[in-house]
Symmetry: C2
Subunit: 408 residues, 2 copies
């Protein structure tokens, strides 16, 4: 008899009928001999409804109160799910964060989990009761309600699976059927991946494949929780996110993604003195602005006793752009600062890159064959990203997807 | 600097604009030098919306889960109120039942308060923060969320005032301007009462003057909490509910009420044997059916060695009627059981009755003068009730109201 955690997202509990379907699915898993712990998100649209109530009062609502407000969304879902399970003949009990002591730090609206009390859940399971735990919420050391940020229910589910013991799997029911080799809206022949490693999933998630909250994948990797991402509308298996050893499909490239959320900043003719770049990026870090890609051209016009100049380029989230521009203007007064919104970052991800030479070269060739100019490059062990003009985004994804043989 | 508790009902927090008005009112009380603790109900309509979600799943939702579900209504209100106060420049913090340890028994959907931790509230007040406490909800010894029944936020507010110390007053803001000598919809000349005793208020509340939850009045009486019932839409003073000593207006009759919620049951020709009536009313009590008025006619047709027969009449809530009929049919098989829905109970209430003779006689005369037949009578120290045909309800209230000189 295995213990499993089943997490249902907002669309899966979006209506009374869907809540009944969820209860039916949980009942079937239980009939099949599993002990099920359920985690649920707010009904779809509810979190936004609550947020807009708060924002009607003031543009900057207090974080603590915002969390107290939006946490009600999950509370409604879990109570309704417990009622639905009871009506289906399955004994069930809803739990809020404070009732399972799901402790977090006090970072309201983006708190981090510190621990969870599995005893409450285990004793419910021993009574034959299905615990239905509110996702997304936590409680800090002072008893305040916190929330884990958008998509936080995924992290709740993985944390619970980890707390319940080694090997407890976590099923994430969502409105897509799993993880694909590329966005099926862009690549008609994109293929559902059967198994993928945590590392690859992390790179894919942070690059725009918005299937799982990135922190849930980090947590799953840390505690070796097998995660099964699948659709709540079908019975088809989805994608297993597992350890590298279990990830049988260690192909060279597991997937292609694109990300339009970044902008490019270039500072022209920056004096190439020691500490100059450090000063700029320290100031950005102090302002909590994350910089992604950084490119510095070789220094030019240097002569003995006089530093050369260089063009410094970096990318960052479009939302941080205005703030970053004002910092750059202050630290680099007199220099030309160019900004480009029309960029997209296209990336290939795969564990196999570590042992296969020439993957980067092949990527550049595939883009060049389409006449696409590469503006910046960044690489990690299992990922290569190229910044290109936004208009080439879909073309680049399709060309890389086919070029690396990912299609059906 | 006085500490006061201000409780706002569902209509007072029913929209974002009204929540802003509440924040404004709290700010003014604070500017005037008071330390304010706020208690809020769910936004009007919200509790019913949540209940109907639960009932869409099953006709008999589990009590624990129903409480977890509906308690979210108050959580939304207090978070929004705290945000509104913050936006108005008043530091505020929302609290749920588990955060102020408002402990109850485990009687889901109608729990009773066992205690409350005033320290959390006092330390917020000492920080200059306005605590905004969710009404209606509690937490039992096992950490389950409970609710106090309809109107329970009144009881929350009074319990908090009692816990904060002797003499702390409780203002109940509602959509009426106070307690009236009769329903103003029935008596155009009904007058707002300035002060009324707890005892009178209890009789009025249980008889249908639905201004305050009856348990809140019991609690206020027990802990001598002065309660001020007033409108959230005007600045006019409302009605103070206070101890008998402070209730200056100890008039003979304080008010007239009517109650259409009961039905009358008559069992004809019941053998007048010892224990026969006891057996019936014990069976009703075992089924948790409250019987209100009981009338037994003098026994007739008795002869030595053979008991007489009697007609036994009682009233009870219409909702319990079907259940009571089946019990009566079982215990009194072969006897005729008559049921009458078309009755109304008209009552006069007043502390002065204790010292004034002839009040009952005057009531019966006033009704007789209108040609109204009295079907049953019950009396307490400060109340006289008459059961009459439903069609005479308004006429009887007006006639008693004028006859006892209660109008303007």
């Amino acid at each position: 008899m295995a213990v499993i955690v089943q997490k249902f997202g907002g669309t899966s509990v979006g209506t009374i009928d869907r809540i009944k379907s969820v209860a039916e699915r949980v009942a079937r898993a239980r009939d099949a001999g599993d002990q099920v712990v359920v985690v649920a998100s707010a009904m779809s649209g509810e979190t936004n409804r609550l947020l807009s109530l708060g924002r009607e009062l003031t543009m900057r609502p207090d974080g603590r109160e915002l969390d107290a407000l939006v946490a009600t969304g999950e509370q409604v879902s879990v109570a309704l799910l417990a009622i639905a399970l009871g009506a289906r003949g399955v004994p069930a009990r809803s739990f809020l964060a404070h009732q399972v002591r799901l402790r977090t730090d006090s970072g309201f609206t983006k708190a981090r989990i510190k621990g969870i009390d599995a005893d409450v859940l285990l004793s419910a399971l021993n009574e034959g009761v299905v615990p239905v735990v509110a996702g997304f919420q936590g409680v800090d050391d002072r008893g305040n309600t916190t929330t884990l940020g958008r998509g936080g229910s995924d992290t709740t589910a993985v944390a619970i699976a980890a707390a319940l013991g080694h090997g407890v799997a976590c099923e994430i029911y969502t409105d897509v059927e799993g993880v694909y080799t590329a966005d099926p809206n862009v690549c008609k022949n994109a293929r559902k991946v059967g198994r993928i490693s945590y590392e690859e999933m992390l790179e894919l998630a942070s690059l725009g494949a918005k299937v799982l909250q990135i922190r849930s994948v980090e947590l799953a990797m840390k505690y070796a929780v097998p995660v099964h991402v699948r659709s709540s509308f079908t019975e088809a298996p989805g994608t297993w996110v597992v350890g590298e050893d279990e990830s049988l499909e260690s192909v060279v490239v597991a997937g292609v993604t694109s990300d339009r959320s970044e902008a490019k900043v270039t500072i022209r003719m920056m004096p190439d003195e020691p500490g100059r770049a450090a000063g700029l990026f320290e100031a950005l870090a102090d302002a909590r602005i994350s910089v992604d890609m950084i490119i510095q051209n070789p220094s030019a016009h240097a002569s003995p006793g006089r530093p050369g100049v260089t063009d410094m380029t970096f990318t960052l989230a479009k939302g941080d752009l205005e703030h970053a521009q004002s910092i750059a203007a202050r630290l680099c007064s007199g220099l030309q600062v160019d900004v480009d919104h029309d960029v997209v970052k296209v990336s290939i991800v795969g564990l196999g890159m570590r042992s296969h030479a020439g993957v980067a070269a092949r990527m550049f060739r595939l883009l060049a064959d389409e006449g696409i100019n590469i503006q910046a490059i960044s690489t990690s062990e299992i990922k290569i990203s190229c910044l290109i003009h936004a208009k080439y985004g879909e073309l680049a994804v399709r060309s890389l997807h086919d070029g690396f043989g990912l299609g059906d």
